[in-house]
């Protein structure tokens, strides 16, 4: 029997993931993250570097000057972006790369209305959607400025499945990262004369983060392969849960240190909250998945 490359990363995909990770480690490590929280503006130089690395043009056909890769590769890149808490309207700019001039290269920052929210409106060069009545919020996430716009009349429009999936990929990255942070802390922090990770109660919190992360990973990667809107909705719900609850558990494992501004844990939780409010998650995703079940008997 011939054996094909299976439902796992190809060498090229592993290399791409390593490349994005290397770039972000170098350009957006712990120091840069702290500085960004202080500054709270968008680092245009980093944005152009992302553009030059092909982050935005990843799925633009080679004939049009893009990288010519697909959704699986985009998902791997966005997972890393999520892991590093990379700020900026990444999804909107990535989606605009084929249509808005300058977006692919990272020369232009593109923001977009998503439901009743707009991320990074003030920093954007191009804004997609009606923002005439946009009002600034005091965003819970120090690295995601938010505006609110009135809800559109009529029924909720179906979101772009690719945007929903890329958000899921970012959430997956958060889930992976908070698992690492929780385990790292549980192994090193000592109380009662032993690492707290030796206590079963703490161990189980860490295990449950992984328990939510691995099914989410399988769902996100599979949805990237099938591009099926129902698969994407499933991936999104699982990834939202893995990120939000994972960050909560990670904070709990960190104890008092997790409650400080100094720790990076709260940044993961807050970003996960922001992403979970984007279109396609929550009740909207659950309804789509329910409708799929209620479809006429096969």
């Amino acid at each position: 029997m011939t054996r094909t490359v299976r439902f796992r990363l190809t060498r090229d995909q592993e290399a791409l993931r390593a490349g994005v990770r290397e770039l972000l480690t170098r350009r957006f490590g712990a120091e840069a993250l702290r500085a960004a929280v202080q500054r709270r503006d968008l680092d245009r130089r980093l944005w152009r570097e992302l553009g030059a690395a092909g982050f935005f043009a990843l799925r633009v056909p080679e004939a049009d000057g893009g990288v010519g890769l697909g959704l699986p590769e985009a998902v791997l890149a966005f997972e890393q972006a999520g892991r590093f808490l990379l700020p900026g309207p990444l999804v909107a700019t990535h989606l605009a790369a084929g249509t808005v001039p300058g977006a692919a290269a990272g020369e232009v920052v593109v923001a977009a209305v998503d439901g009743v929210l707009v991320e990074w409106l003030a920093e954007a060069d191009v804004v997609l959607g009606d923002v005439a009545k946009a009002v600034a919020l005091t965003s819970v996430d120090p690295l995601t400025p938010l505006h609110r716009v009135p809800a559109p009349d009529g029924p909720e429009a179906a979101p772009d499945p690719v945007a929903v999936l890329l958000t899921a990929a970012e959430q997956l990255g958060t889930a992976v990262r908070v698992c690492e942070l929780a385990v790292e802390h549980a192994r090193t922090r000592e109380q009662f004369g032993q690492p707290i990770g030796a206590f079963q109660a703490v161990k189980h919190l860490c295990a449950q983060i992984l328990e939510r992360t691995e099914p989410a990973r399988a769902a996100v990667y599979a949805a990237a392969v099938t591009a099926d809107p129902v698969d994407i909705a499933a991936a999104r719900l699982l990834a939202d849960e893995a990120a939000v609850r994972g960050a909560r558990d990670c904070l709990q494992v960190h104890g008092g240190m997790g409650f400080t501004w100094e720790s990076e844990v709260h940044l993961h939780l807050k970003r996960a909250w922001v992403r979970a409010r984007r279109a396609g998650g929550g009740a909207q995703g659950a309804e789509l998945l329910a409708a799929d079940l209620a479809a006429e008997p096969a």
Binding site: M1, T2, R3, T4, V5, R6, F7, R8, L9, T10, Q13, P72, C179, V183, A186, R187, Q194, P195, G197, A198, F199, Q200, V202, K203, H204, C206, A207, Q208, L210, E211, E214, P215, R217, A218, A219, Y221, A222, A224, V225, T226, V230, D231, A233, A234, A235, L237, L238, A283, G285, A286, E287, L288, L289, A290, A291, D292, L293, A294, P297, A298
Partner: protein
């Protein structure tokens, strides 16, 4: 990342599908759950049909009498048989998924020749004598004793949670042969003939009301030394081969089955009007996401196993087992909300399944033990003192 299949695999699927469509309508009616001899005959009959059609021991290696199929083919087999509503592995479970693979991996040529073909041909049933009243999750605490007497072991003790014990020909038995050794090092694996003098089987009634398990009492039972698989006192290592099988692939067909139940639940909710309750409807939607993800996680794990040369599924199976067992309970709890007051009527569909689902977070390692395994062996957290 690729979810497509090779032409060979599609051919395999088509052939299997055609065969199932041909043979399933001709199957005898399912025996009643309480009729153990009839259940044995039915399950063995199905295994014989698989054997005659060349589907027995699909995932077993060729030198164990199997087909040496890839994990992906095994996945296709489980998917298609479940979709077609084919019989479950039933009484053949321990033979095909526990004892058989252990003998294939650790037995001598003579042992393989004696025990494996009857399992594949549907002629002999195995049961499992691992757990004891005092050794559940802490299996290494087992106390059933065996001492040598010439070319026999003399075994005394008791085992519990033994499925199909009433109708089994053989029992894969763990016994303590060296009480002085560290507890993992004094255990031996024996094949016990269930008709040996001194073996008593007592059915064990579960909270579901039926006797799905049994207790097995062993009083000075003589087991030939030739029935030992692996070295004396090496039974723990021999057994771990088996247990990692259980955690890896045993639930694949059930995930497919759960997805079918979920579709039936949605139809039932539509019919009885509870579909209009957004809370319930969205819970069903979330379960759709859950079981889709579990299926993808299965495919992912199988691909990883395939890449590792078809190796035994490892501790990664613990993550799957944890998530699946809780999802299954949530599925039947949701079924109860679809049923409303009918969920209190044992004659309604899904009510017994709800009761049975309570075992899933306990059997084959409780969720709490699984989380210790995940935390220590995957995440690298230290063992407690």
């Amino acid at each position: 990342m690729d979810l497509s299949h090779t032409p060979e695999e599609e051919e395999f699927r088509a052939g299997l599908r055609a065969w199932l469509a041909r043979v399933l309508p001709a199957l005898p009616p399912k025996p009643s759950p309480g009729d153990w001899p009839a259940r044995r005959a039915y399950d063995l009959g199905w295994q014989r049909m698989l054997y005659d059609a060349g589907y027995a021991g699909l995932d077993w290696s060729a030198d164990a009498g199997g087909r040496g199929a890839t994990p992906t083919q095994q996945l296709i087999f489980l998917e298609e048989t479940e979709r077609a509503g084919a019989p479950y592995v039933g009484a053949n479970f321990v033979g095909l998924l526990h004892a058989g693979p252990t003998i294939a991996a650790e037995g001598t040529a003579a042992q393989r020749a004696r025990w494996l073909p009857p399992v594949l041909r549907g002629e002999e049933v195995w049961c499992q004598g691992f757990s004891e009243p005092g050794a559940g999750s802490d299996l290494a605490a087992l106390r059933t004793r065996a001492h040598r007497d010439g070319d026999h072991y003399v075994v005394s003790g008791s085992k519990i949670w033994t499925s199909h014990a009433e109708v089994a020909d053989w029992c894969e038995l763990l016994v303590r042969t060296d009480p002085a050794a560290p507890r993992h090092r004094g255990i031996t694996w024996l094949a016990l003939p269930m008709d040996a003098p001194g073996v008593t089987v007592r059915p064990l009634r579960t909270l579901a009301g039926s006797a799905e398990f049994a207790e097995v009492f062993l009083d000075e039972v003589r087991v030939p030394v030739a029935n030992r698989v692996g070295a004396e006192n090496d039974g723990w290592r021999v057994t771990m081969v088996t247990l990692s099988f259980e955690r890896g692939t045993a639930f694949v067909g059930e995930v497919v089955a759960c997805r079918r139940v979920l579709d039936e639940l949605a139809r039932a909710a539509r019919d009885n009007g509870r579909w209009d309750d957004p809370g319930l409807r969205r819970r069903l939607g979330l379960l759709n996401a859950e079981f889709r993800a579990l299926w993808r996680l299965t495919q992912w794990n199988v691909s990883e196993a395939e890449a590792a040369g078809g190796a035994v599924p490892g501790v990664g199976g613990s993550v799957f087992k944890l998530r699946y067992s809780h999802a299954r309970q949530e599925l039947y709890d949701t079924a109860a909300d679809v049923l409303g007051a009918d969920s209190l009527d044992l004659d309604r569909p899904w009510v017994l399944d709800r009761l049975s689902s309570l075992a899933y977070t306990i059997a084959a390692g409780t969720s709490q033990i699984q989380r210790n395994i995940v935390a220590e062996r995957i995440l690298g957290l230290p063992k407690g003192r």
